[in-house]
């Protein structure tokens, strides 16, 4: 710790703190453009200049000098810095004037206006008028991908975007070419960025140079209603802010949560918003003579009631979807229980995970924050870059910190960090389990992280693989057995026991021709239901489930309901309603509640609050929002071992951009997908 006096306030901070951080500790905010907490220090914008005593007698860039670089006074007094002296004021005015020399005065037509650091800081720290009468420099716009629109004349060369793509994304897409007044920010020869996190550069850019292209000229920042939400495009549960104008969701931004997504979200989380409006189911439909026709709720319920009456419970089934909230699944399960149905399952991909093996058997036990503490990593049957790009960035961050051995068993994808490829299938895992090769590294590691993906679990020998992997992961207090799910709803579904009851069928078995006569799909779009059964689809989009359905009941998407989602590490998170579902659509839990009344099996709740009370009684940890209920690692030792097959692990995600019905409806995601496929093809050539 070191002492420093900031504007007369003495603070005690770690010696390696920068002056900027020390000032913040003292409650003094320092303007900045290039500095960003999560990126390396560039020190090139000079906006953060302060005056110091005990250092050079000139304004000092506070982001680039640390407290320990300052000398104490002649009698050992702590060094002093000033953030509001005349020197600082003059320095800030000067820097601002230089920055504005070549910055266009187009705030009125700039999307960033209203949330622009340059605008705000010019107002707070700049001069009141310009003395510059020469011509301004103009810079050509660049193509850098479908998600980010550029207006490069506005760029102030802070290089945040360059550092972000190099350090966080690991794709090194952007760079600063040329020099001096001819500096230009661009990608290599204007190719599209290749990262799944590229959309974040629009948040990082302090000016309006990089803007989200799909939101171009759509709304002003002050017009938005901002609602805190949780992303469902993967199982990480990134914290998001849903910005709506009127009834329409215009954009989605990350919310800072250091324990989950830091301040990043994937491009799918950010830019599948247009999918919320397209292909929507806004009224019930009935299939008549092979064609779906619009129907009223009572007609639709009538048709279902007739079918339910005519079908025995063991010929009825429920399949839970990947985007459903805990409440939706809880209501569906309650109805199934009332009907005496045992065939319920939310594991559309057939993952061999079962709540009866204990909660530790299906959580990312190490926790996302735990990645920072891990000292070795084995990835089994997963492509984290596509299954959860933000989590992958966290792994990359841990790798950058050094001393981190990573090995992969499964497909050798480019994960943005180097790793040892041990093999394609269970043989390689068995070898590690015997302590050979990478097994030695794991044996020496104190906190080994074993990341198990759906590619390893959603197969016949999934349970045996889980048992083998679990053996490698527990050391003392450390439980590194970490399942990376691909579905946002999965952990919640397993927590409430949305799995087959005694003698019930699994999702895969239910989907088989002839297995069932009546099947309810609760937003389940990732499974192919074979012909035969009468299918009731409750969901949001005209996707696979709806095409197969005989009755469609329109539901609410994740931005249109208040709901709980439990992320892959078991963190319970609440998302708020940002808007209403379109047309006649209703929240799924309410649909099941209404249907239950028609069926004469009325569910015991009339409101979301009552439902949650029941839920909390059944599953107490659902009440602990934003908390992780730690799972007992002891259960892992009892996982049943079994025979391994020789087949290679294959990640279920073949196209990052099209993994859920919302993304599949999105035109932006379709464009990204086509681009990525083209790039993959090119790379293969």
């Amino acid at each position: 710790m070191a002492k420093i006096i900031v504007d007369g306030i003495e603070v005690d901070v770690p010696a390696e703190y920068t002056l900027l951080q020390a000032a913040e500790t003292a409650g003094k905010e320092i303007p900045r453009f290039c500095f960003h907490e999560r990126l390396s220090v560039a020190g090139n914008c000079r906006m953060c200049l302060v005056e110091v005593k005990g250092g050079p007698p000139k304004p000092t860039a506070s982001c680039a000098m640390s407290v320990k670089d300052l000398r104490p006074g002649p009698n050992g007094e702590p060094p002093e810095m000033f953030t509001n002296s005349p020197m600082v004021k003059k320095a800030r005015e000067g820097v601002m004037e230089f920055l504005l020399i070549n910055h266009p005065l187009d705030c009125p037509i700039c999307d960033q206006g209203g949330e622009c650091d340059l605008q705000d800081q010019a107002l707070a720290f700049g001069r009141d008028r310009s003395r510059y009468t020469e011509n301004k420099n103009a810079v050509e716009n660049k193509y850098i991908g479908p998600l980010v629109k550029t207006e490069m004349t506005r760029c102030i060369q802070c290089t945040r975007c360059v550092r972000f793509t190099a350090e966080i994304c690991g794709t090194s897409d952007m760079g600063n070419i040329g020099r001096g007044e001819d500096s230009e920010i661009t990608t290599y020869l204007q190719s599209a960025m290749r990262s799944e996190l590229q959309g974040n550069v629009t948040d990082l850019c302090p000016v309006g140079a990089l803007l989200p292209r799909p939101q171009n000229f759509r709304a002003r920042p002050w017009e938005y209603t901002k609602t805190p939400g949780v992303d469902v495009s993967d199982a990480l549960g990134a914290n998001i802010r849903i910005d709506t104008r009127g009834r329409e969701v215009i954009r989605i931004l990350p919310r800072i949560n250091d324990a989950v997504n830091e301040e990043w979200i994937s491009d799918k989380a950010r830019q599948s918003v247009d999918g919320l409006k397209l292909q929507r189911l806004d009224r019930p439909y009935l299939r008549e003579n092979g064609r779906l026709r619009p129907a009223s709720w009572s007609e639709a319920f009538g048709a279902i009631a007739a079918k339910v009456q005519a079908t025995s419970p063991d010929k009825t089934g429920f399949i839970g979807g990947d985007l459903s909230s805990v409440e939706d699944l809880f209501a569906a399960k309650a109805l199934a229980d009332k009907l005496g149905v045992k065939n319920i399952d939310a594991r559309q991909d057939g993952a061999k995970l079962d709540p009866k093996n204990g909660r530790a058997s299906y959580l990312f036990n190490a926790s996302v924050e735990g990645i920072d503490a891990a000292d070795a990593l084995l990835i089994i049957g997963s492509n984290p870059r596509w299954e959860s790009p933000v989590l992958n960035a966290r792994i990359r961050r841990r790798w950058r910190a050094g001393d981190f051995h990573i090995a992969v068993i499964g497909e050798p994808h480019d994960l943005t960090y180097p790793y040892e490829h041990l093999g394609a299938g269970p043989d390689a895992l068995a070898k590690v389990a015997r302590g050979e090769g990478f097994g030695e590294v794991l044996a020496k590691a104190e906190r080994p992280l074993i990341l198990v993906g759906a590619g390893a679990l959603a197969r016949e020998d999934g349970a045996a693989i889980a048992a083998l992997a679990a053996k490698l992961a527990v050391k003392g207090d450390w439980n590194g057995y970490s399942v990376l799910h691909t579905a946002a709803s999965r952990v919640g579904a397993l927590d409430i026991g949305f799995v087959p009851g005694e003698g019930g069928l699994t999702a895969a078995a239910m989907a088989k021709a002839g297995a069932l006569d009546l099947l309810f799909l609760v937003g389940a779009d990732e499974i192919n239901v074979e012909p035969g059964a009468f299918v009731v689809y409750v969901g949001t989009h005209g996707d696979r489930g709806a095409h197969r359905a005989d009755v469609i009941l329109p539901g609410a998407a994740y931005t249109e309901k208040s709901g709980l989602y439990v992320n892959t590490e078991g963190r319970v998170q609440l998302t708020d309603r940002a808007g209403f579902p379109p047309g006649d659509a209703r929240e799924d839990w309410a649909v099941f509640r209404a249907l239950s009344a028609v069926l004469g099996k009325t569910l015991p709740f009339d409101s979301l609050a009552q439902l949650r009370a029941l839920l909390n009684k059944a599953v107490p940890h659902m009440a602990q929002i934003d908390e992780i209920e730690k799972a007992d690692a002891g259960a892992l030792t009892k996982l049943p071992a079994g025979a391994l097959s020789g087949a290679a692990f294959v990640s279920p995600i073949t196209d990052f951009y099209l993994t859920n019905p919302i993304a599949r409806a999105s035109k932006v995601m379709a464009e990204c997908s086509a681009l990525a496929k083209g790039a993959l093809k090119q790379a293969a050539e």
């Binding site: 190099a166 090194s172 760079g175 600063n176 070419i177 020099r179 001819d182 990608t187 290599y188 020869l189």
Partner: protein
Amino acid sequence: MSARRLAEQQPDSFEFTPENKAWLDRQIAKYPPGRQASAVIPALWQAQKQHDYWLPQKAIEKVADLLGMPYIRVLEVATFYTMFNLEPVGKFFVQVCGTTPCMLRGSDAIIEVCQKRIGEQRHVTADGLFSWLEVECLGACCNAPMVQINDDYYEDLTAESFAKLLDDLAAGRPTHVGPQNGRNRSEPLGGLTALTEFYGADGKSGPLSDPAAAAQPAHPGK
């Protein structure tokens, strides 16, 4: 200077010659493992020398591949330094210094000759012999104004001597590298004024009196 871009006409491929590759491997070996990116400037320089004094896109990519760098990082370096030519240059590539000392000593007249004799900056003459570029200080200010032609400095120029120099080059006549006004290196024009008891008399230095010294190597061309 305005924004520098890669040339529109690009060769399809670029390979280092075996000698240059071996030379480059020796440069790379100078740096500790994992730090081979440090060799990027020598690598680009050698590529440029091998490729008629300009860097094609494929050479930039080749260097990036050899050094394990992202393409954009190498492009940044190539566009930063004006010593890397991104477009074809003339057989005699004239870099005119236009920085203050040279400007005060008449570089404007030199530039005028370039414009008249060669044409626009960064354009190669139809016969492929010349192109020129205004650059910043080349570190020979005491002999201002000066130009660099390929690897050689020609100093103490006047419009006349520079025009003659260009004519000589075009005609393939030998040229005299260094000061064009009879000055010896960067010594005072009128001969030594100090330390004369140590220098000058014995031919070690001083005004060019020795015909052998005057016959410095003619411009080697390419």
